[in-house]
Amino acid sequence: METLSHFALLLVGGALVNNILLTRFIGLCPFFGVSNAMETSIGMAGAVLFVMTLASTGTWVFWNVLLEPLGVGDFLYIPAFILVIASLVQFVEMYLRKASPGLYRALGIFLPLITTNCAVLATATESVKPGFFKMNVAYSFGFGETLVYTLGVAIGFGFALISFAALRERLEVAPVPEIMKGTPMAFITAGLLSFGYVGLGGLFGL
């Protein structure tokens, strides 16, 4: 029971309480870049869920097998993780193109774009160095915890992105003053939306 509630907390904490987009403001480029249309945001959310889970588990393995035992992880984690993430994305792209052309076409351009997405790097880093963002966790994540936490973050990312895209589609036809049209209005909307997520901060006493 203890472990079950721990995993549930990790999932909800990653998805809602510490929503990567709206409480921590990481990965804002796709948040504003692709949220113009519902269709592209769904594609992006799917691609992020896919790549983030793979990248975090992949980097966790390299960290625990190679970097940590050699004692070089503290200063080498960023180049090493970027290397792992970039090759993983390339690999996934090749594999999908062969195995599932439908999914490959659906994810489209978003798959290669995610290579340099800061949200993916941040989640991979947190999984091995939770001190990077204080989650009241005093130790490094295990493999299962990494998987669940990353899933939570990716679901939170997709949820925030898709709900924001729905808001922006409505904003298109709203009577917005000329000077506030487009991105300025999107920034204000994102700020208001963020209030709601910050309000979840007291949930579960996290």
């Binding site: 050699l70 200063f75 290397l83 090749m94 062969k98 195995a99 036809v173």
Partner: protein, 299 residues
């Protein structure tokens, strides 16, 4: 300087790099996807506008479908006959004839048609119709905010001085993007007709003629004069609106001459650019003569 640490760092990055490149090298062999060279050849002759008129989401998807035979070589609506021939050449199959279509506007209102309020919001037809059904009183007429002109992937539509879309027939490819973009495309404000058709009815309203005249001076009033004068029974008043059967129409132009509202128009002439008088007088039709009986009979 701790040399050992430097060595470890270089070593660990090299190991990761080697592992990744090995994995990618294997994957590129293992998961290589062969692209049919015919797809590239077909893609090269397609217009490349990704307009979606053929039903495929992109020209690449259309090229793939043409190669596999899922769609005919004439599928490219935008390209018409030249592209169909080029595709047939690229694939080494027999050429077939394309029946091409172009867009036509079935409204002559524009500035002449009355508005029920002054609209000042997002200048887009899609936005205007959300405000109490639009500022135009006519439920089927052209709103004139140019969604079709912005949507046209071939720049074939411009908004003229009457606030009506003018369709450049040299550029129109019949891709139907404008019909989809028009919020009133469903009621026939923009519709497709054969490219060689001679006339177009510039009205798509079906409400009572008396009501119609109240808010528009250039609408069809269902007087049936065109129906009576037509030698081939090609134009018939259906549901209080003149409708042309382009299979029967011989483009003799008698209906154009006889129409009291001047709402039947010759297609393909630059008449659309002439400005109607503010009192709603019809377009300038000087210089137009209907065919004689002998000419019509020779068709």
């Amino acid at each position: 300087m701790d040399l050992e640490l430097v060595l470890k760092a270089v070593l660990s990055l090299a190991v990761i790099g080697l592992a990744a490149s090995f994995m990618l090298a294997v994957a590129s062999r293992r998961f290589a996807v062969e692209v049919d060279p015919r797809v590239e050849r077909v893609l090269a002759v397609l217009p490349g506008a990704n307009c979606g008129a053929c039903g495929s989401p992109s020209c690449f998807a259309a090229a793939e479908a043409m190669v596999t035979g899922d769609v005919p070589v004439t599928a490219c609506t935008a390209g018409g006959q030249p592209v169909a021939d080029a595709v047939a050449d690229a694939l080494g199959v027999e050429k077939c004839e394309v029946s091409s279509a172009v867009s036509m506007r079935q409204c002559g209102g524009g500035k002449v048609a009355k508005r029920r309020f002054e609209y000042s919001g997002v200048m887009s037809c899609a936005a205007v119709v959300r405000v109490a059904g639009g500022d135009l009183i006519c439920p089927t007429g052209c709103l004139g905010y140019g969604d079709c002109a912005r949507a046209c992937p071939f720049d074939a539509i411009i908004m003229d001085e009457r606030d009506l879309p003018y369709i450049d027939l040299d550029k129109c490819t019949g891709c139907e993007v404008c019909v989809t973009a028009c919020p009133r495309g469903g009621t026939g404000l923009l519709a497709m007709r054969p490219a060689d058709a001679g006339i177009a009815v510039r009205c798509s309203a079906h409400d009572k003629a008396k009501e119609r005249r109240g808010y528009c001076s250039v609408c069809c009033i269902a007087c049936k004069r065109c129906e009576k004068v037509c030698p081939t029974d090609a134009i018939v008043v259906v549901d209080l609106l003149a409708v042309v059967d382009y299979d029967k129409c011989i483009s003799c132009g008698r209906c154009v001459e006889v129409c009291p509202q001047k709402c039947i128009d010759l297609t393909g002439r630059a008449l659309a650019l002439s400005v109607r008088d503010s009192d709603g007088a019809g377009p300038d039709v000087d210089g137009f003569e209907a065919m004689t009986d002998e000419e019509a009979a020779s068709l």
